[in-house]
Amino acid sequence: MNVATDNKEARPLLEVRDLKKYFPIHAGFMQRKVADVKAVDGISFSIKRGETFGLVGESGCGKSTTGRAVLQLQKPTSGNVRFDGQDLAGMSPSQLRSVRKHMQLIFQDPYASLDPRMPVGDIVGEPLVVHGLAKGSEYKERIANLFAMVELDPAMTERYPHEFSGGQRQRVGIARALASEPSFIVCDEPISALDVSVAAQITNLFIRLRNELNLTYLFIAHDLSVVRNVSDRIAVMYLGRVVEIIESELLNVHALHPYTKSLLSAVPVPDPVADRKRERILLKGEVPSPVNPPSGCTFHTRCPMATDLCRNKPPELKPHASGQWVSCHHV
């Protein structure tokens, strides 16, 4: 994964190396720092151009923080994020602003992420204004094009968010993200607030836009079926670390990490006959606190395979013959 090459096309679009993001906890009269929430605790991955890279895990595993730290919306505690070969960490705010044109974010909640007092046309056009990309009639035309691209009626630009349904609002959010013609988009739970039939429409839109605009996605979601459906490769996170990186086609048949396996078994397949044939692993307990994560392998407290080695020594993420990366002593 460390191939240094000058060939721009072969180079990954995004490279994340040993990324950490800790949130300090302050307590007492002096508000001294007493501990850290280790939201993201040393993760590495890279995303190829045009690839959709999925990030899954349960709440609190650090997947959203990873997305924000990648975009430098939350300054990483340590580690490297290289976008198109440039290290984002050392950049000045103005340099960062010009790079941000190329990297955008789509949020989970289309009700909270749109300014209720702004007509949706202005919401979509704001990046064009901020980055000075279009003015006057060109501006209007660009907005109309963006609306058409996400299958919204361009006649609706003067309306306000409250007049739109959840699915339509999410389309507005997507149009806004596309306005500055980015190459990379972080999609943070983009369909989990939507109803089943609407979620399918938006999923299809994501797939179509990626193909038409050659976009690269970091697709973050808690729903394994959704992530698997859109992604080329998937990283499974647990307590701030990546436990497995796997091709999405292999996920259902060749997952190796015990956490990935138990996650898979916990998700019922919407087909009773097929579901009865699936392996069932019922995990004990719940995810421990990221303030004080367990020693060694952080999964050992719930892992059916845990041994003394797991309690003492954290495993490394290592490549396997099948092409996936797994962080487990027993694989």
Partner: protein, 338 residues
Amino acid sequence: MPSNKVPSEDRRETVLEVKDLRTSFRTSTGIIKAVNGLSYDVKTSECVGIVGESGCGKSAGAMSILRLIPHPPGLIEGGEVLFFGEDLLKVTEKRMRNIRGNRIAMIFQDATTSLNPVLTVGLQLSESLEAHQGFSRSEAQQESARLLGLVGIPDASKRIEDYPHQFSGGMQQRIMIAMALACTPDLIIADEPTTALDVTVQAQVLELLQELRAELNMAVLIITHNLGVVARYVDRVNVMYAGSVVETGPTDQIYASPKHPYTIGLLASVPRLDGPTRENLRAIDGLPPDLAQLPEGCAFAARCAYAMERCSSEKPTMEKVGPEHFRACFYDLEKLSR
């Protein structure tokens, strides 16, 4: 794989029978017909599912059973809710209080807001035991500890002193289940019981509910939007759209051969872990109808690929399409494809 599913041919007693239930809400935008001719039944120790998207009336229907619809703006306009033959819509409020929490218990989606934050969980559990079972305070405390243990909360006799915020989301949902079990009800209504939980915890909570159902011989009505949960845990499923059931039948039957275009669309629109990757889903076009302005004919007609002229003027009634399998649709069965 052992299955808890019961063969559906047997003639068990009917616990609950909902007939042509109608509930509406009067709002500034008009009369919202949330539940519009809802009918289904639940038999002894059976797990029945109500599945549908938001706004299809699945929760309003469940709240109507226990007469928990706030009035105004809500109003149960008609129909029958027969609980062992007794129409709950006609009984006195006193009789109703005797049934709620005692014979029919409810588990809500959001345990965090359903539990009282300023009372210990022991007190909250004891409340219904003292009210319905005539337990003394100390007996109730003992029984509360037993119930917490039953739902898998470690150190139960100590934890009854704790407040809800001292438990995690999954544990709070377990406490909700313990409260529902307190009076060994005949029927538990679980409204989106695991939607707020992570998948591994969801599996724990649903497995627990299934085990207890078998052990205590209760009937369970699960209301959910999650087609996977239905497939794994439910014996019979009712698919709801715009306030009424459009298809009902044994779960295996419905999933293997759905006969209503909406059910077909719904099943095709969810990605499957064992399905293809990076492929378009077959989404249902359009949006659910405005419940304040329901069309005269079939409510799904506007989004239906099979809609005919008749569908916009006439409302289809339930027709039998297989053993215990019914649907409300005019379209020719033979020509329907998945």
